[in-house]
Symmetry: C2
Subunit: 339 residues, 2 copies
């Protein structure tokens, strides 16, 4: 009385006095079935509690109805929200999310193995730092990929991105208007492509405003690393008047460290900007000035592009870039160097 009691299309067919094909067709849209048999099948299916077996369907149709979503948990605090939005959007299109965590425990190779065997229809990769080699593998296996917030150089895979350059430029411009001279850049982990890009953009933007040779600190995107990096700097150097951080938690770490341990007021003595616009930024004592990513648009686009690639694999890869929107919080003020 265990698993074998599952009702199959044959059972329904027999009970309804029709063929298995008929049952199958009833549960598929756009197949020609007479109203009479449709009803007959539907009622007996209901009585028996029949539900089509998705596995069997996958095997014959070669569509699994599953999309692999690969994420590296630490990389970006937005990911829970992104994941939820992606899931919702995919569900609307009848695709399910099969989750993969690209962390220390499971290497990329293991994950790729799994992805091949599970015959997923497509892959959405959240800023996991794929080498181009891995992306090529997806091509070999005919599995469409959409990269989320990752810049491709070879442009073999589609991707959706926030415009880091534009966003960071806005932030730097804001700071520059306040006549800041002593900058500090707090970059993310060097293994992360996104982090590196943000760093470059910051340097470029500052440079464009005439601020060359701005010192660079490195963190790992976490709150603690922001605190620590700023602490290290302050031990041996004089305070900057503005810190450009590669994400929000680090920025908040800097603010806390500055306020608590170095007697710096934000924004009076020190201006700090972040990036991403995570929801915690709204928490009151911070009111961080940052750039918010349009997550809804980006996730929707990621799904749309992926489905398009699934339907018509020959379509060329595409890149869609969104501008982030500046959120003027309360962490930027006029330059006020402490001598």
């Amino acid at each position: 009385m265990d698993k074998k009691k599952r009702v199959t299309s044959y059972d329904v067919a027999k009970a309804a006095g029709v063929s298995q094909s008929a049952v199958s067709r009833v549960f598929l849209k756009g197949r020609s079935v007479s109203k009479k048999t449709r009803e007959k099948v539907l009622t007996t299916a209901n009585e028996l509690g029949y539900k089509p077996n998705a596995i069997a369907r996958m095997l014959i149709t070669k569509r699994s109805g599953m999309v692999a979503v690969i994420l590296s948990s630490r990389a970006n605090i937005n990911y829970p929200e992104v994941l939820s939005l992606l899931n919702k959007r995919l569900a609307e299109c009848n695709e399910r999310v099969l989750l993969f965590n690209l962390d220390d425990s499971e290497g990329l190779d293991e994950i790729l193995e799994q992805i091949w065997t599970f015959q997923v229809d497509g892959v959405i990769a959240l800023a996991a730092h794929f080498d181009n080699e891995s992306i090529e593998k997806f091509k070999d296996h005919n599995i469409p990929v959409v990269l989320y917030n990752r810049v491709v150089l070879g442009q073999t895979a589609s991707s959706v991105c926030v415009n880091h350059e534009q966003g960071i430029f806005q932030l730097v411009t804001l700071l520059d208007k306040q006549a800041h001279k002593d900058y500090l850049v707090l970059a993310g982990p060097t293994e992360s492509d996104v982090a590196n890009e943000r760093l470059e953009c910051a340097i470029k933007a500052l440079s464009a405003k005439g601020h060359k040779d701005v010192p660079i600190l490195y963190g790992d995107y976490s709150y603690d690393s922001g605190k620590q990096a700023f602490h290290q700097w302050m031990k041996d150097n004089k305070a900057p008047t503005a810190v450009v951080c590669s994400n929000d938690p680090m920025a908040i770490g800097v603010i806390d460290e500055a306020r608590r341990n170095w007697g710096l007021r934000v924004p009076e003595d020190l201006s700090v900007v972040g990036f991403d616009g995570v929801s915690a930024v709204a928490w009151h004592s911070y009111q961080l000035t940052t750039v918010k990513q349009p997550l809804e648009l980006m996730t929707k686009a990621a799904v749309d592009i992926l489905l398009e690639q699934i339907e018509t694999p020959d379509n060329p890869a595409q890149l869609r870039v969104w501008s982030g929107s500046l959120i003027e919080g309360n962490t930027v003020g006029p330059a006020n160097p402490k001598t």
Copy 2:
């Protein structure tokens, strides 16, 4: 040259000069294959790029290797971390996470439909408020379920929980030691079973210390709702000296509101405690006193129990409860009523 080029076990068999069964056995552990054929098969499989098709395997073995994880995004800020831990642990046991979001968009019924058709091996439900009826349905379909942080009355499904009663009792005891008299309880959404349980525990614990008829405010677990609830209260009433909140973000909302708009110092004028021990609590300006859930243990147990139920479905359901650990932050101080 599209999908049909997938290499099957037959292709490998032919190329290696053995039978399909042989190939199959090579990729299964514990089957008797001679070393010679194993190597032969393995090398040709490698050459051809053969990967076993998980879908076909699922169909015949009736094990999908997938576990459905159902979560409601808003309910608890811990969930991203829980999800990541569950995924990691399940991956170690060769199970994949198929994700379901129980939100406004997709109703429970749709999700259940999906779960039946996908033939998942089991389900982990994160505090989604299931009625007992739904749990019965899982029983009917022979799909083991483990509930995460949800109390079952009928006890037909296994569950892992943090001990709300004990945790909240610790917090209340801490406050009571500081001679607080004017309490406020900030409860979570009334639809949430967990929220209701936490509320009850708070009432009970306060009552045990001799504080009856403590006023109750309601929020929706979000930061904003905490702010707002406290704001509403303060408009018409005198300030309490202690607020017991049902989760951390609301507690932080209360703190911000109290500090910013009502000139209350925390912890000097107002003591606030939360619940959950989310990582953001470490952020410096807060240092919230709270109770932390042992997520690693709980997620590990959830997976272990689920797998056990999958292997031996006749085992009885079990309940495992963990004590949370008190985190003494800096938001609890001696009672200091403002007259």
